[in-house]
């Protein structure tokens, strides 16, 4: 009796043991010895292609012996959402490209860079600082949005470059009257749909109140205030007047670039990274002007971007820091970013010529907004410094922009942002 029981038990255990050994052998990978492997979260865009990442990573890896960098590619441009998913499931990467540091610093997830190194190497060392600490080296900046326009179509319609908001409305009306689509949007991708709203908000609200975001954190202002609603109403006006392409919310970002390059619309409000997508044969045809304010004064919606943040709890801090610094200062990377992604370089002691890049006239015009003295504000929903938005507010902002296409109740859309803010700052 007892022997039979033992026999059965032994058989069971043997089976389970065998199964688990087989499983473990089949399903796990062997770890490499003596090699440091870091994970690096990146993302692909039409200009930041897989080849770009492979090459730039390889270049920087060479400067850190014994290092292998494994890429984790975010599924879309919402890098923060993906980074948070990874964090929530316990796989926060060692290095993260272009995230919004403020959303992670509260939990102490990011490692600040050595301030001396930052001060020595960058034009705007505190450009994207959070409470004076730098979590992403400010290697480049962008203007979000600029309004790119097709010079040929403007000439065809007899339209001059608008200086004020009323000029802009007039230009749209004239273009539409001549059968030319005034504005290309690419609204199926929320961040593209949000460009006009970012432009109007940055020009009108932030232009008069550059520290509006800080006031919002303090609760002194709301999205339902008159000035914000007025800015959003401007976007609604563009919609109701039919100035965007037909079915704007059904056109993808990638298609919108193709469309604008093909001359299917006269204007294209987009982040300055579009400059990397201007086809060589169109260099003379594309121009740029900033989102117009009511009185025509210049307000530049600026955003200091940069390379990667470092996980504060990475197991290999020295290698991670060395790789991040190498990648950030590599002139080859910056050249690729300038030419392919329209990045404005912010390295100390270097001018555009130092990168031996060949850029379009419209790039040079856009870069002038960065280098000249003018009124710069931090573009809402894109800034990565203390003016960055909490929680999912960036997505909600873009969703509100999409909402303006289908609802005339501008105040209600703005009220949703206030609700979201309350929930995000709980």
């Amino acid at each position: 009796m007892l022997r039979k029981r033992h026999a059965a038990l032994r058989k069971c255990l043997a089976a389970i043991a065998a199964a688990s050994v087989l499983l473990t052998a089949a399903c796990t990978e062997k770890a490499k010895d003596g090699q440091v492997t870091l994970t690096y979260m990146t993302f692909n865009t039409p200009s930041l292609t897989a080849e770009f990442w492979a090459k730039s990573i390889a270049n920087a890896q060479q400067k850190v012996p014994g290092l292998t960098v494994k890429q984790l590619v975010a599924p879309n441009t919402d890098r923060d959402a993906y980074a948070k998913q990874l964090q929530a499931s316990g796989q926060f990467p060692d290095l993260l490209q272009s995230i919004t540091p403020a959303q992670y610093t509260g939990a102490g997830l990011l490692q600040p860079y050595d301030q001396a190194w930052v001060d020595a190497n960058f034009l705007l060392p505190q450009g994207n600082a959070i409470k004076s600490k730098v979590y992403i080296p400010p290697t480049n900046s962008q203007i979000i949005p600029l309004v790119f326009y097709n010079k040929k179509l403007f000439a065809q319609a007899g339209v001059a470059v608008p200086k004020t908001w009323s000029d802009f409305l007039q230009a749209c009306a004239t273009l539409k009257g001549k059968g030319i689509t005034p504005i290309e949007l690419g609204g199926n991708d929320p961040f593209a749909a949000g460009m006009p709203l970012v432009g109007a908000f940055s020009a009108d609200v932030l232009g008069k109140n550059p520290d509006w975001i800080q006031k919002r954190y303090a609760g002194a202002v709301k999205f339902t205030d008159a000035d914000v609603v007025a800015a959003a109403t401007k976007v609604r006006t563009l919609v109701t007047n039919g100035y965007f392409e037909d079915g704007a919310l059904n056109v993808s970002y990638a298609d919108s670039i193709t469309n604008f390059n093909a001359g299917k619309a006269a204007m294209y409000p987009m982040g300055s990274w579009y400059l990397g997508s201007v086809p060589k044969d169109k260099w003379e045809d594309i121009g740029v002007f900033p989102w117009p304010t009511d009185d025509g004064s210049l307000v530049v919606p600026f955003s200091v971007g940069g390379s990667m943040a470092i996980n504060a709890h990475t197991k290999h801090m020295a290698e991670a820091t060395a790789f991040a610094q190498a990648w950030s200062l590599d002139p080859g990377n910056l050249k690729a970013l300038i030419e392919g992604d329209g990045a404005f370089p912010m390295l100390k002691g270097k001018t555009l010529a130092d990168y031996s890049v060949s850029v379009s006239p419209v790039f040079k015009d856009s870069y002038a907004f960065v280098t000249e003295q003018n009124k710069k504000v931090y573009a809402i929903a894109w800034a990565t410094n203390d003016d960055s938005l909490p929680g999912s507010l960036n997505n909600d902002f873009f969703a509100a922009a999409q909402g303006l296409f289908n609802s005339g109740d501008v105040a209600a859309q703005m009220a949703k942002l206030d609700t979201s803010w309350a929930s995000a700052t709980k």
Binding site: T28, T45, P75, S89, A254
Partner: protein, 280 residues
């Protein structure tokens, strides 16, 4: 006489109508297959036409991707499915065998408890599952994902299918074997399993399909660090910037061809399984 001819005519008409309707019904799949082998211009010119100048360019581009999306994804999906099924079949069949010989009240209670597993939306248990696996040191590992597969709604499905079939195993054979001194496990392996082969086929086929196509669990439980299955790989890597129809359809074709081929190969069992299942 003419009645017969009329009947044959209507029959043929009916078959034709059925064929047209079904073809329209599966046109998205047809379009994927057909356009995977056409060049971009051919696709834009006529999306619905079969490939007049077939090209393998889309498929080779997909296979030569630097991130090895298809190779890694398909391999990982295969590992997860194989390990999960190898564990689920014995686990669910033994559980059903044991439960089906119990008193009816206990049996009903257990089955009711298992019914919950079929109905629970995975989003409800996702976070706690990750926390449990992390506590066991199995987070972001294949064993972790496989374990959560083996223990979730798939377990319930297997038990329900086997329980339905256990009724057709005669008590006398089991009693006779017991009298001969055979252990429960031996009875399970040598007597019951051969008798419930249709159930095994049903469970294996449906669970393979569902685990293969599973998305949320591999996304969060396995995680990109460890590897991607074909579903999460597609979601994470194809992303937004596929303006080329040909490339997209090429990837989708290669990603879907294994389950579709498997299904076509086994379709008799699929239908049989569903038939048996629905009549119970």
């Amino acid at each position: 006489m003419s009645n017969e001819r009329a009947t044959r005519y209507t029959n043929r008409l009916r078959l034709l109508a059925a064929a047209v309707v079904i073809l329209v019904f599966v046109s998205p799949i047809y379009v994927t297959i057909v356009n995977a082998f056409k060049s971009e211009d051919d696709i834009r010119a006529n999306p619905a036409a079969p490939p007049l100048h077939p090209t393998l360019a889309n498929l080779t581009t997909a296979i030569n991707r630097p991130d090895e999306l298809l190779q890694a994804g398909l391999r990982n999906s295969l590992i997860v499915v194989a390990c999960s099924i190898v564990l689920l079949i014995p686990l669910t069949s033994i559980f059903s065998l044991y439960v089906s010989r119990r008193r009816t009240r206990a049996r009903a209670a257990l089955l009711a408890l298992l019914a919950a597993g079929l109905m629970i939306p995975p989003q409800v248990v996702l976070l706690p599952t990750i926390q449990i696996l992390t506590a066991a040191g199995l987070d972001h590992s294949y064993p972790g994902l496989i374990l959560s597969n083996v223990a979730g709604g798939y377990f319930s499905f297997g038990v329900f299918v086997y329980t339905g079939f256990m009724r057709s195993v005669p008590d006398e054979i089991i009693e006779a074997a017991r009298l001969d001194g055979a252990s429960g496990l031996r009875i399970w392996w040598s007597i019951v399993m051969p008798l419930v082969r249709p159930a095994t086929a049903t469970v294996a086929i449906f669970l393979s399909l569902w685990i293969w196509n599973d998305f949320l669990n591999p996304l969060f439980i396995l995680g990109p660090l460890t590897g991607q299955t074909i579903t999460t790989g597609l979601y994470l890597s194809v992303g937004q910037y596929q303006t080329s129809f040909g490339q997209l359809f090429g990837i989708m074709f290669l990603a879907g061809v294994i389950p579709v081929a498997g299904y076509l190969f086994m379709q008799k069992h699929f239908v049989a399984g569903l038939t048996q299942g629905s009549s119970k």
